[in-house]
Symmetry: D2
């Protein structure tokens, strides 16, 4: 079995809830970026030891939160030595509208993963035309998109999004196991 | 008043319907790219004469249709002389899921407009949290996103999307009038 | 004449040097984001009063620096009221390689500007095939790309990049003057 | 060993030359999209049988050529059944300037690969600061970027770009072998 980690920032608990489902699917350790954008040495060690790192962030103003970006900038230490080369990567995001600029966030996760020499695994659950409910109700392929209204608590994230997150975690872990 | 044109490709009539609402809002001429990706000389002349060109395409396999891309490639003739420099640009797309990769299509419209030296105007209607209905129900800012289920006819595009298209056409034309 | 501002973050002085040339071209006020990603109230007021805001950031790990992103996240206060609607926007970035993921940074500036309801003006200087020197030597359209080797000081940014920055500032200010 | 294929469109021979080096590195079959954007049944069969598909296109007007896009649209037949799920994917592009909008093309390859449920492998050769020559002289991570001046023949593509293409083909094939 592959060692997997989910590294994420969550501002108000929504992305944290999605992270839990991804982690459950992958059997992953949860690595929470703090409110100042920092990780502890132990958290960095968890990422270094992982076969797969799945990244999560809310989409704020069309992109990952600054706290997630601070983590990404700090990961340049790994970049210098290509220390994360060939790890498997994936990503998920959550925001208030159905589309918003969530794809922009997922695209950035890919860009970051490519700078790190990682291998990207996308989301493959299909919706079968049941728009607005069920697996992949939002229609996302590069990673997982989740949604909860602007004033809605994390508990109101649609079950379809959480189920997609769970299935995605499982998929990433399976690919990582093959490559490990 | 500004002269505006809506240049679009539509495979099955959905994008054409959105184009009609954008054109109505803008008071624009409709310039339909044909099934082989071609425009007539008269259609090119309409674009050359316009103060604003609003681009539309379905999102197929995560990007504008090949017919729209053939038009974009043919527009390199304008690029060589920066013949469309300072025209106002905008864009809209339609696909079967709520998000899909519609943002990828809108991003490409921006990239094309920038190569042509055009000035990009985005979508500014807000949703006020009425997710899945009303103006900008999908949550799009770079341009307009519309949606109709995979098997649904063009008549089933949500009214909110069409209203957004109408308001967007109006906005682009207003900016073009100021710059003309 | 239009009031313009250049808001930027610079880690080691390279982006600051490009910012100076953009600002000179535009006749703009320089608004430097500090090392913690913050602006003073007076700096926010400068942005609020501007007809055009040109954004600058190094490209770190494939995207704007976290400090710039912290500014972007803080700009959500303007987003709630569309307080920056119809301001003109532009952007520039600097990194160590010729391409790198500089386009990713420029794309994000566009995404942010669109969320704010701003109007995007790109870079229109052409290179005339003098690859690696002269105006637009790197080949960028969405905004300005500048480059200096990883160990090179800011003084070694190519003159062509700085000339492009100057011309770009002028262009953005001209469009802003027409719209003001 | 993995079965690999390089599917590409080339307008004037530049992208074809890069394709040859990628294919040599990967031990891949070359699958050339014709001037009308079509493949033969035998060519589709080659792609169906491959463990890895590496995509190549010039960057025209900021994106893959319309011929490549026509291939992408036709690949929707595979999408309906997720017939290419878990194949490895990669990509390369060539254009006249150092950056141009080549990243836009590579991003689209990723988007297409994700729609198809494929697994993306990026470019990991480093440049060690020898900007403008040597491996990865342009600075690209998501895939391979190659460059030859606007009037230059394919024979003038820099050796560093071709060496990068060769190394990239090898890398993609190695990952595919592990996953096969």
């Amino acid at each position: 079995m592959a060692k997997t980690a989910v590294v994420f920032h969550s501002g108000y608990g929504h992305t944290a809830r999605v992270a839990e489902f991804v982690a459950k699917g992958a059997g992953a350790d949860l690595v929470a970026i703090d409110a100042d954008g920092n990780l502890t040495d132990a958290q960095w060690a968890t990422l270094d030891a992982a076969d797969a790192i799945i990244m999560g962030s809310p989409t704020y103003m069309g992109m990952v939160s600054w706290q997630f970006k601070k983590f990404a900038d700090a990961s340049s230490k790994k970049w210098f030595t290509l220390g994360w080369k060939n790890k498997v990567a994936g990503g998920f995001t959550c925001s208030a509208s159905m589309s918003g600029d969530k794809l922009s966030t997922l695209q950035y996760f890919v860009t970051l993963a490519m700078q790190q020499g990682m291998i990207w695994v996308g989301q493959t659950e299909t919706n079968e035309y049941k728009i607005t409910e069920g697996l992949n109700r939002i229609g996302s392929f590069t990673g997982v998109m989740a949604q909860a209204g602007a004033m809605a608590p994390a508990s109101e994230i649609a079950q379809g999004d959480l189920d997609t997150a769970l299935a995605y975690g499982k998929r990433v872990a399976e690919v990582a196991a093959k490559l490990a």
